[in-house]
């Protein structure tokens, strides 16, 4: 489903964020990306929906070479990838409902379906009460859950979640991860970049670890830190 071949990324200001990443993620996989702050997790995810392009190497998503996509084709790639952004990226002048609905409206979903599916998604993240609030009127965790609802609302075949539990309490975090797992079971590829040790350790899924832009570990049934796994 997702393939990175020798991907290297240097940002325009000269900062090297990724070096020679080779990675293959299958159609039904659930994978964690871990690593210290600044390791390149977000950068790696950005390549997949072409927010950034690799300086070198090839990114292939669903058999399409992402590098070759024109500006006109990119929106169609993005509609197949739900993204939970680390900084939420909610439309500031739109309510929670409208923010989630937007992801459906861009695909031309009929009006009556939009309402039903948005409400469903908001219910999954327990935000029905806040449907008519603007992002400014939400707590940090509520913003994050809005972003999660938007990412899953149109059942994309790929779901990328960048630190999806950073502003959530442990109980809610666990609920959200269970939700992602359920979505994964419905044939969705799920990639989660996270710092949440207890979740990574608890899920026992594939773990890829980055450090300083290099891939230092790729384990099935992995845990947050490599050492601890060997201990266990």
């Amino acid at each position: 489903m997702i393939q990175l071949i020798g991907v290297t990324k240097t940002y325009p200001n000269g900062v090297g964020a990724l070096y020679d990443i080779n990675l293959h993620v299958g159609k039904e996989e659930f994978m964690f990306i871990v690593g210290p702050s600044g390791a390149g997790k977000t950068t790696l995810l950005r390549m997949l929906y072409k927010e950034e392009s690799p300086t070198m190497g090839e990114v292939i998503v669903d058999r399409v070479k992402v590098n070759n996509l024109t500006a006109e084709q990119v929106p169609y790639l993005r509609r197949n990838i739900g993204v939970v952004f680390q900084d939420y990226k909610l439309l500031p002048k739109r309510t929670v409902y409208e923010n989630v609905a937007f992801a459906l409206q861009v695909t031309g979903t009929p009006h009556f379906q939009v309402r039903r599916r948005v409400m469903q998604a908001l219910e999954l993240v327990a935000l029905l009460r806040k449907a008519n609030s603007f992002p400014d009127e939400l707590s940090g965790g509520e913003k994050q859950r809005t972003c999660i609802a938007r990412a899953i609302v149109n059942n994309p075949p790929i779901l990328l979640a960048d630190e999806p539990t950073g502003s959530l309490d442990p109980t809610t975090s666990w609920d959200i991860i269970q939700l992602l797992d359920k979505i994964n079971k419905r044939n969705t590829t799920v990639l989660v970049a996270t710092h949440n040790k207890s979740i990574v350790d608890g899920m026992k899924k594939r773990v890829v670890a980055l450090e300083g832009g290099r891939m230092i570990r790729d384990q099935q049934l992995g845990a947050y830190s490599g050492e601890r796994l060997s201990n266990a």
């Binding site: 929906y49 500006a71 990226k89 937007f102 861009v106």
Partner: protein, 295 residues
């Protein structure tokens, strides 16, 4: 298709309302620009109107070679008016001409003391359709029997006519430049509103919106802004202009201000068209600029 259009339009209205202050500022700027534009148009029209009225309406003057009877005069008048390029000809009888002349120069000339008989000939004032044909027409008039001499209009009037012409050309140029300036201001205003919503556009792109999906609401917003702006400025122009007319007509009764409803309607129409077009163009140019910057 229709539902998409409705969606875009409702999107535009929502965004205009939620960006309330920005909308007001933009409409304000557009209104001011269009007011300047409209007043300028009206001024140009009026000034060239006033300046043309300053000169007499006469392009050519023909003098009879001998005193004419009424029938002869009417005959000559008809002959003149039938010449190609002549708009109308008017007969001023010898007696009337002498009376007018004496009236006009009574304080300067002591003619009556010396001249008993009327020294002026019967006179025909000729108004041209197309002043450029004057030379040709004057030759033709001279060929009519009973006409002795044909003169052009006096020097001052000549100057004024040239001036009016210059006024018209200069005015047109100025209107053109001013339209350009208004366009610039409106585009800049809308560009600033789009710039302020850069984040919004970036996010829309990231969740899979195509360019045209983003573009349309902005263009419609531009059109609505333009419509609001031109609507308000037409109301302002209308009331101000009418107030000015009343006042000026009293102060300067001899100056005829432009009150032809059709043409004033045209000015309003032009302001409206320019406003809407500018809004649309402004919306298009600025959102496009923003969209071009990525990729």
């Amino acid at each position: 298709m229709l539902s998409t259009l409705t969606f875009f339009i409702s999107e535009s209205f929502i965004s205009l309302r939620r960006n309330g202050l920005m909308t007001m500022v933009a409409v304000g700027t557009i209104t001011v620009s269009l007011c300047i534009f409209g007043f300028f148009l009206l001024s140009i029209i009026n000034m060239s109107n006033i300046v043309s009225n300053l000169g007499t309406k006469v392009d050519l003057v023909a003098y009879a070679s001998q005193p004419l009877t009424d029938t002869e005069a009417e005959n000559v008048r008809l002959q003149i008016s039938r010449i190609d390029g002549v708009k109308e000809a008017k007969w001023i009888s010898k007696d009337k001409a002498w009376k007018d002349f004496k009236e006009e120069f009574s304080d300067r000339l002591k003619l009556e003391e010396i001249v008993d008989s009327n020294p002026l000939p019967d006179t025909f004032f000729v108004k041209m359709l197309n002043p450029e044909l004057s030379a040709k027409v004057s030759k033709e008039i001279a060929r009519i029997s009973l006409i002795e001499e044909v003169g052009f209009n006096p020097n001052l009037v000549d100057k004024i006519e040239t001036l009016v012409e210059a006024f018209r050309i200069g005015g047109l140029m100025l209107v053109f430049l001013l339209s350009l300036a208004t366009l610039l201001i409106v585009v800049n205003t809308i560009r600033l509103t789009v710039l302020a919503r850069e984040t919004e556009i970036v996010i829309m792109r990231l969740v899979g919106a195509t360019r045209s999906f983003i573009r349309w609401p902005f263009i419609i917003e531009g059109i609505i802004l333009g419509m609001l702006g031109s609507g308000i400025s037409i109301v302002i122009i209308k009331f101000t202009y009418e107030a000015i007319i009343v006042r000026l007509q009293n102060a300067l009764p001899f100056v005829t201000l432009f009150t032809n409803h059709f043409w004033i309607g045209c000015v309003y129409f032009l302001v409206a068209i320019v406003g809407v077009l500018l809004g649309m163009l402004g919306g298009y140019i600025s959102v496009n600029k923003q969209l071009k910057e990525e990729n």
